[in-house]
Symmetry: C2
Subunit: 142 residues, 2 copies
């Protein structure tokens, strides 16, 4: 099932009924492969002629976040980013401590360990973020 559909269904199940604005945000998110900020989404939609309130973007992101349909990604530049939580395309991030640049790190080998460890705490995991801090190639050279 495509992420958009799954998201819409889950949201509806949670009593949230996305309207026009919500649908646009959803579709825009689905088109992203890596993290985007709220303002970025808002600007992009506007640029395409879609009138969407910034507040609606935030509201939608909140709802999605609560259902674990998106993952928050904190790069360290003060802007909160989100990315669709797909089972496929599950990846992590290499975040440079100097320039705050982000690179994707494919693959993930923590799921099993994590799931078990979390459940031992009575916690039901629905996803996770893993950010590696360090220095990117460019900043090392500098």
């Amino acid at each position: 099932m495509a992420w958009v559909d799954e998201a819409a269904t889950t949201l509806r199940g949670a009593g949230y009924r996305p309207g026009a604005a919500g649908q646009l945000v959803l579709e825009h998110l689905a088109a992203q492969n890596c993290c985007v900020g709220a303002k970025e989404i808002h600007d992009d939609l506007r640029r395409h002629g879609r009138t969407v309130g910034l507040a609606s973007v935030y509201r939608m992101l909140d709802a999605l976040s609560e259902q674990s349909l998106v993952q928050r990604v904190d790069v360290g530049d003060g802007i909160v980013r989100y990315e669709p939580a797909r089972r496929s395309d599950h990846h992590h991030h290499l975040v440079c401590a100097r320039c705050h640049g982000v690179a994707e790190l494919e693959g993930c080998e923590v799921d099993e360990w994590l799931g078990q460890a979390a459940r031992e705490h009575g916690f039901t995991p629905t996803g996770h973020t893993l950010e590696v801090t360090g220095l990117c190639a460019a900043c090392q050279a500098a």
Copy 2:
């Protein structure tokens, strides 16, 4: 070597010379085992009669962050938290998507995989954060 000393040394090496305020922030951080926010640090120091500017706290955190001496922790409530990056006491977090509560998850089994994967990207890792999102026991029951 204690974290405070290592931090002070590293900072000095980076050309940053912590004064009275910096020292206080450093010591306060060292006394924490889990994440604290900037404002929290500021308030605590004030409460103990130490006059430290909020700006100094942020400046110190920035410097520490750039040297990877602290780890940013994003819980999802809009407040950026930091915790000292010690080799011992390396842990991760279980973050509830509903109530934003945080629990510690001891242990870490990703270092080896991570180090190698990161280096393949020309990235030099100095640390990492791993946040597990899901539902805490309390929110599941509700």
